[in-house]
């Protein structure tokens, strides 16, 4: 059994590791300070004079400055890579836990039947090794913030390592490639990527935290892509959105976490007859994504974000089944516009705080899956409105607030639900038991009482 003092030491150790690798803290370079001190100090045994401490403090300040500078050039933050369909047509890749590779040697050590690979800071030189994996279906290549922070002043900093168009074009020799995630890959300009998509079976493309010019979108959207997810990316504008809207094949588009969104862009997208899934989550004043800037891209103008005004532009989309407006600034008035999309089945309003019972009443009748995660006023009237929707099968109410006992009692009677998530609720043991009996798919979180 571990001694208590060793537990404390392990806790201290994990704090150090996190502060250095995630927080960007770096060991100081004391070479100059120590040697200067050694030269000038007297024979006294006191090792630390006031001046040396000032020097140390100055070095700390310099070190902090270096850390901030590195963080600014270090590339993408980890971002949402969800969006893979698990049902319906088409079948998109479902990411399991892919093997992480960082070097050519890592790739060469992979079994030949590897289907998914997650590369961190891979260079062009490492990519040919992937061609041995002829069953490879999905590749992610991310530029790691943490890697770039490694080093500090004590050794040469590891500059972010990028792949280029020339490098990824070689992946065209992979016969089963279906999905590609490029995150923070700021050296990708377009031609190689376009040729890769053109010459392979690649149909899902995630360009995360990237600078994506309109021309690249125009070229990509002429190809038979099924899903295009531009999470947290920027640099595209009207022309790029028009190119997306003109695609005859795209079934899924994600602008999640993009810092710029204009109302009329949505008007353009509304012409997409084959679009089945649209992610506009994480855009707008409520989001925790907007405002966090770890990549070196220039700050774009904010645009309007997801608002009631934008919602008026959202139609018609005859095949749209899934829509995320999470963290948007949408009210009851805005969600009324969704009535123009009767095909809608799954709606994510997580973190959209202004929705009341009237807004729930106004949702399209066919919605079977609804996320209201983090709603702050889930009172009895709201619950009543939710449960009046007998088409609802999946209800995600995790970490909501404002529920009284009446609301909980109402929920306990909702026998039509197939899955329910109430994680983060403070429930009595009796209520937990009643909710558990509702369906086999109930997430109650951990007991708080």
């Amino acid at each position: 059994m571990t001694e208590p003092n060793q537990e404390d030491a392990k806790n201290a150790r994990i704090d150090w590791l996190l502060k250095e690798r995630v927080g960007g803290e770096t060991p100081p370079d004391l070479q100059h300070a120590v040697l200067s001190q050694l030269q000038t100090e007297s024979e006294t045994a006191n090792p630390a004079t006031q001046s040396s401490r000032w020097l140390a403090a100055a070095l700390v300040v310099i070190g902090i400055g270096a850390v901030i500078a590195v963080s600014q050039i270090s590339g993408a933050r980890p971002s949402d890579q969800t969006g893979a369909h698990q049902d319906g047509e088409p079948k998109f890749i479902v990411w399991h836990t892919p093997t992480i590779v960082r070097t050519r040697q890592d790739i060469e050590a992979l079994p030949k039947d590897t289907k998914q690979v997650f590369g961190i800071n891979l260079s062009d030189d490492a990519l040919p090794a992937l061609l041995r994996l002829q069953k490879l279906e999905a590749i992610a290549m991310t530029v790691s913030t943490f890697e770039a922070l490694r080093g500090g002043p004590l050794k040469p900093k590891t500059a972010p390592i990028f792949v280029t168009d020339d490098g990824i074009e070689r992946l065209a020799a992979l016969p089963k490639l279906q999905a590609l995630i490029l995150e923070g890959q700021l050296r990708i300009q377009g031609p190689g990527l376009v040729r890769l998509v053109k010459n392979t079976t690649l149909r899902e493309l995630n360009l995360v935290s990237m600078a994506i010019p309109d021309k690249l979108l125009a070229d990509l959207c002429e190809l038979p892509l099924l899903a295009l997810r531009l999470n947290g990316s920027q640099s595209f504008g009207d022309a790029g959105i028009k190119a997306i809207a003109s695609s005859a094949t795209l079934r899924e588009v994600s602008l999640r976490g993009c810092t710029h969104l204009e109302d009329h862009w949505i008007a353009n997208l509304s012409g997409m007859a084959s679009l089945e899934a649209l992610n506009l989550g994480g855009i707008g004043s409520h989001t925790i994504f907007t405002g966090i800037r770890l990549n070196p891209l220039p700050e774009p103008a904010p645009g309007s974000g997801v608002t009631d005004r934008l919602m008026q532009q959202l139609a018609p989309l005859p095949k749209l089944r899934r829509l995320s407006l999470s963290a948007g600034s949408v009210t009851d008035k805005g969600v009324q516009a969704l009535q123009k999309i009767p095909s809608l089945r799954e709606l994510d309003l997580g973190g959209v705080g202004e929705i009341t019972a009237a807004g729930i009443d106004a949702l399209p009748a066919g919605i079977s899956s609804l996320h209201l995660i983090g709603h702050q006023q889930l009172d009895a009237s709201m619950m009543q409105a939710l449960l009046a929707r007998t088409s609802l099968r999946d209800l995600h109410l995790g970490w909501c607030k404002g529920m009284d006992q009446d609301a909980i009692d109402n929920l306990c009677a909702a026998t039509h639900l197939k899955s329910l998530n109430v994680a983060g609720w403070e429930l009595s043991d009796a209520d937990r038991k009643r909710l558990s009996a509702l369906t086999t798919e109930v997430n109650l979180g951990k007991s708080k009482r």
Partner: protein, 160 residues
């Protein structure tokens, strides 16, 4: 070994050793500098590398004890345990393998957890700010961070 090479060789490991024993970053800077000065005055630089490293850690330990006079016994237990862990897992490469293991473990976390870690450790977000952003109570954030640290600790243990 000449003085410049000696400082360059040992400063990172020494600083990380202090940090791993719970010493805050600014104090670790100062104590690392003081320790290196003492070692150079006593010509430890001419000793064999492992002996020199042991001397440096012992000296750093003693300097830290002086600063922790109010809770000296607790600090002593902590740094002794840290010394054991350091020798077991970190001494050969100054903790680089541990940092790599952490990175792999963090990469496997869900998005929400990574965001919480980054906001907390990188951006310095307070527990209150995190609670608002993650739709949790402050207590919930504390629990979440405790769970994350525990999970990362276990993950690192498995990987080294």
């Amino acid at each position: 070994m000449e003085a410049t090479a000696f400082v360059r060789k040992h400063q990172v490991g020494l600083w990380r050793f202090l940090r791993s024993a719970g010493c805050d970053a600014a104090l670790a800077d100062e104590l690392t500098q003081d320790t290196l000065l003492i070692a150079l005055r006593r010509d430890v630089a001419s000793r064999e590398q492992r002996t020199a490293a042991a001397f440096l850690r012992t000296t750093a330990r003693n300097l830290w004890m002086k600063r922790r006079h109010s809770d000296r016994r607790r600090a002593e237990r902590l740094i002794d345990a840290a010394e054991q862990l350091w020798q077991r897992d970190a001494a050969p490469d100054d903790g680089n393998q541990l940092l790599d293991a952490l990175e792999r473990c963090v990469a496997e976390l869900p998005e929400r957890s990574r965001t919480a870690l980054e906001r907390s450790y990188h951006d310095g977000a307070t527990r209150q700010e995190l609670a608002t952003e993650l739709n949790l109570t402050e207590h919930g954030v504390r629990n979440m961070m405790q769970r994350l640290r525990k999970a990362l600790r276990d993950c690192i243990e498995r990987r080294i």
